[in-house]
């Protein structure tokens, strides 16, 4: 009640106007006011939270579409492939060999404008290390902010959020950790250090959350030692040319199977040497038996042939091709069912809260009939009495709405922290949507509608008759 007193005193002005009187009338019954407010705030808050959540999720998805037309990866769930390779929230579906992917990596491909190879599977403090080519920067419109672009094996660039979060600087060294979650037991202790040579400017896209390096760096880490590995990991790409092709394919399919990769030491050294020496002249196409996780493909234009390309990859290769637009729309449709259900619930709560405004005003009229007649005697017109009750309804709606928006934005702020922890995605509770202005307008309208009948009733009070009964 202390808070109410403070509001009282700030509202306390010389004249007893309608607003002040409405406020006094409402706070005279604080519990009933509280119930109505909480209901209203809950309804409005839930609607607004769903709006923000849906909008920001879609924004994140849309922003990270980055003009990518097709994602090619190992057989598995297409949605998983998209989520893993474009949004970096799910595990990769497996690996593909460069030999398989070669046709789509060819810069002279008539339909393909750009193809970006990704090698996933390792992370540092929960941030994914992505072995790739420099054209990934073009895809996300990223530019180097500090330092220089990665060039040599084991050199990395940090996304802006990664650098900020880890407080990393140029020259910082670290060892990668196997897998995509933070786990100290999985650090590649015996491999070489990665070294930070550059930090990217913030883009607002997923690249801010990534650590970028040469594809060969990933191979380097995994060539450096033999160990138990999950099947699906890109680290197996280091078999020599004579390796059984068939077994290799199995690798890509069987994600749960564990295999041992025993590298003959001699061969190994030779390979390492080869990578380091010839790095500048060689392209990924020169390592046909090594593997990557996926390819992000951007077409020159869309047409019948590009549509067909996806289908042909699905049917004729051991890879799958997923269209981000289709998969994400499917995801929205699935999310939409849940969100719609919750939205209806939120509307229902809001409707009930409007009903509660109506009922509380209407039932208070019976108690206040004499009061209202008295106000008429003291000079209040019908309009004034009508306005008084309307303002009471409106005041409840305004306060409820304000409380609801506060609730949803604080809620979103908390949720954003949680999402950042688990998905490394940046959501915000501090942005306002245009729809929220409509929500406010709708809520106020609802307050007016709920108060309208009681207000009419109040303005029709027959003074003489009411006072005669008193």
């Amino acid at each position: 009640m202390r808070a109410l007193d403070i509001i009282h005193s700030t509202l306390y002005i010389q004249n007893m106007n309608s607003l002040l009187l409405s406020w006094k009338n409402l706070t005279a019954k604080p519990l009933s006011m509280l119930l109505t407010l909480v209901l209203f705030a809950l309804g409005v808050g839930l609607i607004s939270l769903l709006m923000i959540l849906q909008k920001q999720t879609q924004d994140q998805f849309d922003k990270n579409l980055a003009g990518i037309d097709l994602v090619v990866g190992a057989k598995g769930s297409k949605l998983q492939l998209i989520l893993g390779s474009m949004y970096h929230v799910d595990n990769p579906t497996g690996n593909i060999t460069i030999k398989e992917a070669r046709p789509f990596m060819n810069p002279k491909h008539p339909l393909i404008e750009m193809s970006v190879p990704l090698s996933l599977g390792d992370s540092h403090k929960g941030y994914r290390i992505v072995g790739t080519e420099k054209n990934i920067l073009e895809l996300y419109n990223a530019e180097i902010g500090e330092g220089k672009l990665w060039n040599k094996v084991m050199e990395v660039n940090l996304g802006a959020s990664v650098a900020a979060d880890l407080n990393a600087k140029i020259g910082t060294r670290f060892k990668s950790s196997h897998g995509l979650i933070e786990d100290d037991n999985l650090i590649h202790e015996d491999s070489k250090d990665f070294i930070v040579v550059g930090i990217l400017q913030p883009t607002g896209s997923v690249i801010d959350q990534l650590i970028l390096t040469r594809t060969e760096s990933i191979w380097e880490v995994h060539d450096g030692h033999a160990h138990d590995e999950e099947g699906g990991h890109e680290g197996h790409a280091h078999e020599e040319g004579g390796h059984d092709e068939h077994a290799h394919e199995d690798n890509a399919h069987d994600h749960s199977g564990h295999e041992h990769h025993d590298h003959a030491e001699g061969e190994h050294d030779h390979e390492e040497h080869a990578i380091e020496e010839n790095i500048v002249e060689k392209t990924l196409l020169d390592y046909p038996d090594k593997s990557i996780t996926s390819l992000l493909i951007k077409f020159k234009g869309r047409g019948f042939q590009t549509l067909n390309m996806g289908r042909q990859i699905d049917e004729n290769t051991d890879m799958i091709a997923a269209s981000p637009a289709i998969e994400i729309n499917r995801l929205y449709a699935n999310m939409g069912v849940g969100i719609n259900g919750l939205t209806y619930l939120a509307y229902l709560i809001t409707f009930v809260s409007a009903l509660s405004i109506f009922i509380s005003l209407f039932s208070s009229l019976k108690d206040r009939k004499y009061e209202l007649a008295l106000m008429r005697v003291m000079g209040a017109s019908r309009g004034k009495v009508f306005g008084l009750i309307l303002v009471e309804g409106l005041l409840l709606a305004v306060l409820g709405c304000f409380l609801g928006l506060l609730l949803s934005h604080v809620g979103m702020h908390i949720l954003a922290g949680y999402m950042k922890e688990s998905y490394r995605y940046t959501f915000s509770g501090m942005t306002f949507l245009k729809q929220e202005y409509f929500l406010i307008a709708g809520a106020l309208l609802l307050g007016i509608v709920a108060a309208f009948i009681p207000a009419v009733q109040a303005s029709r009070t027959d003074i003489s008759e009411t006072l005669g009964q008193g």
Binding site: M16, K24, R376, V377, M378, G379, A380, S381, S464
Partner: protein, 210 residues
């Protein structure tokens, strides 16, 4: 001053009530006597502009309030007529002071806390300024109701059975108070009652017969 001419009123479906003409000059105190059911309350409501007569005039000062309609009638009433009801009622969510501020505000006047304080002190309820009306004794409530009727310096004060629930001592006191306060603001006071004890206190008497 308060004057009526040929005042007639009919509730829907009932036969018309005819009221004797009243003439109560400015600053005078009049008594309106009648038994229960004689139409006293109806007459009071007609005089206070709470009811509109079927026929006739109700002149307050220079204005025939029977001709005023809607918000204008409400505004005129708020500014010029103070009514004290048999039982004192207040806006429950407001304190005594706030109730009086409301009376000022509804009459279109700006709040005058000093006037409110002075008035309540004159009526010996100055210490109840910040109390809730329902915490006051009945006598205190009536004093606050009187203060509220006076707060806008009305031309006419109408009191409906102000003494019906009081003993002789308190009756005398309340009537004296009403007379004093009416005099203080130079208002015409009209007391409507069936209380025979008041007959001798007023020289200006009007009898209504039911």
């Amino acid at each position: 001053m308060l004057r009526t001419e040929n005042l007639t009123f009919a509730y829907q479906g009932n036969s018309a009530l005819q009221f004797p003409d009243i003439n109560c000059p400015t600053g005078e105190h009049c008594l309106l006597l009648g038994q229960s059911g004689s139409g006293k309350t109806t007459l009071l409501h007609l005089l206070g502009g709470l009811l509109t007569p079927t026929q006739g005039k109700v002149i307050v000062g220079e204005t025939d309030i029977a001709k005023l309609r809607g918000a204008r009638a409400d505004h005129f009433r708020g500014q010029n007529i103070g009514i004290i009801f048999q039982k004192a009622h207040f806006v429950k969510s407001l304190t005594v002071e706030e109730n009086l501020l409301l009376a000022q505000s509804l009459a279109g006047a700006s709040g005058d806390k000093k006037r409110i304080k002075d008035l309540l002190e004159r009526l010996n309820v100055g210490h109840k300024l910040n109390a809730r009306p329902d915490r006051l004794s009945q006598g205190e409530q009536q004093r606050v109701a009187i203060a509220r009727a006076l707060v806008n310096n009305p031309k006419v004060i109408l009191a409906d059975e102000p003494t019906s629930a009081l003993d002789d001592v308190n009756t005398e006191e309340v009537i004296q108070l009403l007379e004093e306060q009416a005099k203080a603001v130079n208002a015409t006071l009209l007391v409507v009652t069936h209380d025979g004890r008041l007959k001798d206190r007023f020289s200006n008497k009007i009898q209504i017969s039911g």
